[in-house]
């Protein structure tokens, strides 16, 4: 039936993008720091930094999610682990459980290290609380590897589910494809490594971590490289794909925030900086790598922001959840070949063929 309409959404906005960013970053940070500690090089400080940061990031992120809920009390329904039996098809149900258990296991995994550190045990309130959990710290040490793996698995789940969730929204070509979980996974790990690099360079500052840093830098170059490739694939997919994807392409590839902010400064520039670091080195200066890491983190947020922002729904009638004023809806209707970025507020774009 003649004429389809294209519109973006105003339901999950930058508020959720921040959560997605923090969730991916925090989850991946736990995975990387725990695995590093377990298999690459025992590194208590890294675990403390990584896991405590992740704890804060996910607490903040989850709090934002929580605030965003309409009925805060009903969150009890997803916190109840039984939910996995009644709603195993819902990624948010899994995600909630992953987050909760990731937080629990990663803290227990970190607990022995905290109990060893004066900084923590002498901290008001926190120190007292830690005092109550001496027994747990001991238990944790006994089962450290198992607990580590429980943390890692749940953290990995946390990283993965965000992409799977987006993928489960069928009307949006940008989201409803297998590239999304992969992209989010890669991006999460590259941001997590960038974050841990910052920790290593700026906070821990230990000479003997050189090898670890090089390893992280190499991994990051590879991850950013992969991410660039995925983005290229998405470019192809969106520019020559379904109509809704083509609208997405027009939003993205006309937006300086995406092109310059994300692709250039969030991917290409850090890739080049780190590539030089890995191949030729930066002559001992940490500034370039720190800069690259900051750029990667910024890029990580922008990716999620633009992913939420540029998801275009294809609909047989104008949207109403987006903007309720019919008149605004009709402002619209830029034909597909028009540069949508020229519109004053392009998220309100609803396009109609015809």
């Amino acid at each position: 039936m003649e004429g389809m309409f294209y519109s973006t959404q105003n339901v999950w906005t930058w508020w959720i993008a921040i959560y997605l960013f923090l969730g991916g970053l925090g989850g991946a940070a736990v995975v990387v720091s725990c695995l590093t500690n377990m298999y690459f090089k025992p590194h208590k400080q890294l675990v403390v930094w990584g896991n405590i940061s992740a704890f804060i990031m996910l607490s903040v992120g989850s709090l934002m999610l929580f605030i965003h809920l309409l009925d805060h009390w009903a969150v009890i329904n997803v916190l109840n682990p039984m939910i996995l039996i009644t709603k195993p098809d819902a990624w948010i149900a899994w995600g909630t459980q992953f987050i909760v258990w990731m937080l629990v296991w990663s803290i227990i995994y970190t607990l022995p290290y905290l109990l060893e550190t004066k900084f923590w045990t002498e901290m008001p309130v926190v120190g007292t609380i830690l005092g109550w959990f001496n027994w747990l710290g001991k238990l944790s040490l006994k089962l450290h590897k198992l607990i580590g793996w429980l943390a890692v698995i749940n953290a990995f789940g946390t990283v993965l589910y965000t992409g799977l969730l987006l993928q489960s929204f069928p009307a949006v070509a940008l989201w409803h494809n297998p590239g999304v979980p992969l992209l989010f996974l890669v991006s999460a790990f590259s941001t997590a490594i960038a974050f841990l690099l910052l920790v290593l360079y700026l906070a821990i500052k230990q000479e003997e971590d050189h090898e670890l840093r090089v390893f992280y830098e190499r991994s990051d170059v590879i991850l950013i490289g992969i991410e660039l490739m995925i983005i290229f694939v998405f470019f192809e997919y969106t520019t020559s794909g379904l109509e809704s994807a083509r609208h997405t392409a027009q939003i993205l590839w006309n937006d300086m925030g995406w092109i310059v902010g994300f692709v250039v400064f969030g991917l290409i520039v850090p890739f080049l900086i780190e590539f030089k670091g890995v191949t030729k080195g930066w002559g001992g200066s940490k500034v370039p790598i720190v800069l690259a890491a900051v750029l990667v983190l910024g890029g990580g947020y922008l990716l999620r922001h633009y992913f939420m922002y540029a998801g275009v729904y294809e609909r047989p009638y104008p949207a109403v959840n987006i903007i309720r004023q019919h008149s605004e809806l009709k402002l619209e209707l830029a034909p597909t070949n028009k540069v949508l970025a020229l519109l004053p507020s392009h998220y309100s774009m609803a396009s109609k063929l015809g």
């Binding site: 508020w15 965003h68 004023q325 019919h326 008149s327």
Partner: protein, 939 residues
């Protein structure tokens, strides 16, 4: 990066916890499957159903009311179409659905209000008072005025809207007559009923309010709509249900409208005609059909006055050939034999001598009026031939110029219409707009008659009530009786119209010797050599002059000093707003009373505002015929809930006013006696009941008494018991009397009964206009035959001449979600829809080609200026191809001024009452509300 901060609830989540209990219940194991919502809705203590009639338009739909009680509080929850009703077939439009919100409107009047001393009318400074204080205030103004001279009966004017007109006519008119008040302005008349219908009725002899013709779309094969929308798809439920059935049945639908209306959007063919030129289109059709003999010859011959003989007199006027007793003459088919027919009948095949023959539609070429008949010796033609002569030049090519519709299309439509019987040409409801609208309606009726489609399946059906009353009337006429009973209950068609005209135009009706000021003014105008209005029936023409002291009667000023606004909103519904505002601001007007439910744009100008109950809160005092239903049925309103506020009922208000105007002594007998005389409701029985209820301390005892006695009387008429009638109405909302098929079989007009035209036939040569012509009205509007009348939108320019770049023809229409320009635009449900569709509903429709040239786009603010009167209004643009490029369209529902109507006021929109001048046509003072052009400029 255009996302705003996510809209988070203003209430913190902690406050959500009226929820805390519920929050805990969530922990119950089974909550994962609680699924309770559907039951929650129905979790009430009690559910009751009652029936009423919708209050929001003349469709008068039957309504089923569902009320629910929870925690001891009873509320009306939901309205639905009454499934037992064959009128609206269980359906209801958005206005009807949302009607419940009128009762719960927070802006409602809750107590009587008196304008604060020292304030000016229009300022909205009121204080709440008791009913006693309000009556005392009115009494003082009437009987102890500052100048010492009591306000006299003829110095009162009543203005009623359609609510008071339809539901309370049987009280308002007796009230006026009993108190000697000759002045009533009724809002549906000038815009709607008289202007629209009188044209049709002069042909068919009906004259009802909106139920004059009830087209049977269900069975039609072809429907041609001419300038109607809200009476069909935009929306009158009783008709749209039949219209969409026609579409489902595969009928072909053609719509003439300058824009794609709701109705046009459903048509097989939309014909974008230039405003004001429908008459030309219709005349071309009539000419085509006459020329090609596309008609039901037998029907014309036998049931209409088409075969009557006419001649042209010295003045070039068509006159009927009549014998000395005023009886018409016809010629025998194939001969030159002239026969005289009875003056009043529906059968032309028997002459006065009882001879049966065949009247001819064509007179032989050289036939002359024989001796002894009027026009002796002059060449004669039949009415059909004369009609053709009259419009011979109105060819499709001629009409193409003004209408903008290709001649071929007009020709094709004429052929299609004539060859797809049963076919309907539908004239719609809202009259006015142009000086030629009445003539347009006449021609449409003629076109319908050419097809023989009157009281016939798939054609125009006349109302059930009309048939029954007509039968009694014809019976009485035959028996030589003049009257069949109380005139308002028994007179129909032209007889009713003429009864009303006579009552208010004659100085003999009232002992004080004053006719209505409208009639006095008309006479005065004509004495001054001006045209004057021939039949200012219930019109406002001359009112302002009367307030200003410019109308004279017998040498003395005929003043209007008191105004009672009863369920009317003239500031919004009459033109222009300033006409009424100026009048009401004039100090000569000493008292303005408004009876309403909501603060309309008129109420700020009142001195006293009296709150009426809303329709869901009242048992109406009487029983009604089932509105625009083809079937015959009786219905009424049952209150669903007790009145929420300190409101009153109309009969009791009128009784109280009678006490004030005519003195307390005998007031009841005077008023009730007149009700009995005019409507037949027995006064003695009503009085007994009234006294009983009053003694029992009941609220609104008169209204209740009338209801009670009305029930008994109605039951008598229906040959049943009051108990049975009441029970049926309580259970079903309608008391079905008779199916329309049966009615037309028995009483079909003109097949079985003569109609109420002077000749009893369907009239092409109009006896009504013949009569007016004889009184000296000679403008083409009074032509006895169909004739062209050009719309005069610009000075000295015809409709086919080019417009200036900023100039447009003007068209308006109703919006499906608002009644008229009524206070129901304040309804929050309707207001929400209107907000959502704001651009289309409140915008000024302009074609993109014109918009581009003027450099304007959708949403731009513009100034609109009436190029003839200079009036100005504001609007915002909605650019659309759904309108002709030479025409500007807007919905007339918006532009409310009174901030007390919170939702309506916030809606904005263009007020048509600021653009339309007080310019009326000469027959009934119909508003020429589109007869000008509009210039626009960016604001």
């Amino acid at each position: 990066m255009a996302w705003k901060f996510p809209k988070l609830s203003r209430r913190t989540f902690l406050k959500t916890t009226g929820a805390s209990a519920a929050g805990l219940s969530l922990l119950k194991a089974n909550t994962l499957f609680s699924k309770q919502q559907p039951e929650k809705l129905l979790n009430v203590d009690k559910e009751e159903v009652s029936y009423t009639i919708c209050n929001f338009c003349s469709s008068l739909c039957n309504v089923k009311v569902t009320s629910r009680t929870r925690n001891g509080v009873k509320r009306v929850e939901k309205l639905d179409g009454n499934p037992h009703s064959t009128l609206n077939r269980g359906k209801m439009c958005a206005r009807g659905q949302a009607g419940v919100r009128q009762t719960y409107d927070k802006d409602r009047f809750k107590k009587p209000l008196i304008r604060v001393e020292g304030s000016k009318r229009g300022e909205w400074k009121f204080r709440e008072v008791s009913w006693e204080e309000a009556w005392q205030y009115i009494d003082n103004k009437v009987n102890k005025p500052k100048n010492g001279e009591k306000i006299q009966p003829w110095e009162w004017t009543l203005i009623g809207g359609w609510t008071s007109c339809i539901f309370y006519m049987s009280w308002s008119v007796p009230f006026a007559v009993a108190n000697g008040i000759p002045n009533i302005v009724a809002s549906p008349m000038q815009h709607c009923v008289t202007t629209g219908h009188l044209g049709t009725d002069s042909v068919t002899g009906t004259f009802n309010v909106h139920d004059e013709i009830l087209p049977d779309y269900d069975n039609a094969k072809y429907i041609l709509y001419v300038g109607n929308n809200s009476s069909i798809g935009g929306v009158s439920t009783c008709r749209v249900v039949r219209f969409t059935q026609a579409i489902k049945n595969g009928a072909k639908v053609v719509v003439l409208d300058p824009r794609i209306s709701e109705t046009a959007s459903k048509a097989d063919e939309w014909i974008p005609i230039r405003p004001g030129t429908d008459l030309d289109f219709c005349l071309a059709m009539l000419r085509e059909m006459l020329e090609k003999k596309y008609y039901d010859a037998e029907f014309l011959r036998v049931r209409t006055n088409m075969p009557f003989l006419v001649y042209k007199d010295d003045a070039g006027q068509w006159q009927l050939v009549k014998d000395s007793e005023g009886r018409p003459a016809v010629v025998w088919e194939g001969t030159s034999d002239i026969h005289i027919l009875p003056a009043y009948t529906n059968y032309n095949r028997t002459d006065i001598n009882g001879k049966t023959f065949c009247p001819s539609l064509y007179a032989p070429a050289d036939l002359k009026v024989p001796a002894g008949l009027a026009g002796e010796g002059r060449p004669v033609l039949t009415v059909l031939q004369a009609q053709f002569e009259e419009i011979k030049h109105c060819t499709p090519e001629w009409a193409e110029k003004t209408t903008g519709i290709p001649a071929d299309t007009i020709r094709r439509i004429s052929t299609e219409f004539a060859t797809s019987r049963p076919a309907i040409i539908d004239p719609g409801w809202h009259g006015a707009r142009f000086g030629n609208i009445m003539m347009t309606r006449r021609v449409q009726a003629m076109i319908q008659v050419l097809n023989g489609g009157i009281d016939k399946e798939g054609g125009w059906i006349l109302s059930g009530e009309f048939h029954h009353k007509l039968a009694a009337q014809v019976e009485a006429k035959k028996a030589g009786r003049d009257d069949v009973g109380a005139p308002m209950a028994t007179k129909v068609g032209m007889d009713f119209a003429l009864f009303v005209v006579n009552a208010f135009s004659s100085e003999k009706t009232f002992s004080h010797g004053h006719p209505g000021w409208a009639w006095a003014y008309s006479k005065q105008q004509r004495a001054e050599g001006k045209q004057g209005v021939a039949l200012p029936v219930l019109a406002d023409e001359g009112m302002k002059e009367s307030v200003e002291g410019k109308v004279k009667w017998k040498g003395k000023p005929y003043l209007t000093r008191a105004l009672f606004v009863n369920a009317a909103n003239p500031v919004r519904h009459y033109y222009p707003d300033t006409y009424w505002k100026d009048m009401m601001k004039n100090d000569n007007l000493e008292l303005v009373i408004a009876l309403d439910v909501l603060p309309s744009d008129t109420t700020p100008y009142a001195d006293v505002i009296l709150p009426h109950s809303t329709y869901l809160e009242r048992d109406e005092p009487t029983f009604y015929a089932n509105g625009v239903n083809q079937d015959l049925a009786v219905t009424t309103r049952y209150a669903a809930i007790e009145p929420l506020y300190d409101s009153e009922e109309i009969p009791d208000v009128l009784l109280k006013l009678t006490e004030i105007i005519s003195g307390k002594d005998g007031a009841f007998d005077k008023f009730a006696g007149m009700i009995e005389a005019l409507t037949g409701l027995p006064a003695a029985a009503t009085k007994a009941e009234w006294e009983r209820l009053k003694a029992a301390g009941q609220k609104s005892p008169f209204s209740k008494a009338c209801r009670k006695v009305g029930l008994i009387e109605t039951a008598k008429k229906l040959l049943t018991t009051p108990e049975h009638l009441d029970k049926t109405l309580r259970e079903k909302g309608v008391y079905h009397e008779e199916d329309w098929h049966k009615i037309i079989e028995e009483y079909g007009v003109p097949h079985k009964l003569p109609t109420t035209t002077a000749s009893g036939r369907i009239e092409f040569f109009s006896s009504l206009f013949d009569m007016l012509r004889s009184q000296g009205f000679t403008a083409p509007n009074f032509s006895v035959l169909a004739t062209p009348i050009a719309a005069e939108c610009r000075e000295d320019k015809t409709m086919d001449q080019a417009l200036d770049p900023d100039e447009f023809y003007f068209a308006y229409g109703k919006v499906p979600t608002v009644s008229y320009a009524s206070t129901n635009s304040n309804n929050p449900v309707l207001a929400a829809i209107n907000t959502w569709k704001k651009d289309i509903y409140t915008g000024v429709w302009i074609h993109p080609d014109r918009a581009a040239k003027l450099g304007i786009k959708s949403g731009d603010k513009i100034k609109l200026k009436n190029s003839l009167s200079g009036q100005e209004a504001e609007g915002h643009v909605y650019v659309t191809r759904k309108v002709r490029s030479d025409t500007l369209f807007l919905h007339s529902a918006f532009g409310v001024e009174n901030p007390q109507l919170t939702h309506s006021y916030a809606m904005g929109g263009t007020a048509t009452n600021k653009l339309i001048p007080h310019n009326v046509e000469p027959v009934v003072a119909g508003f020429r509300s589109e007869e000008f052009t509009i210039r626009i400029a960016k604001a």
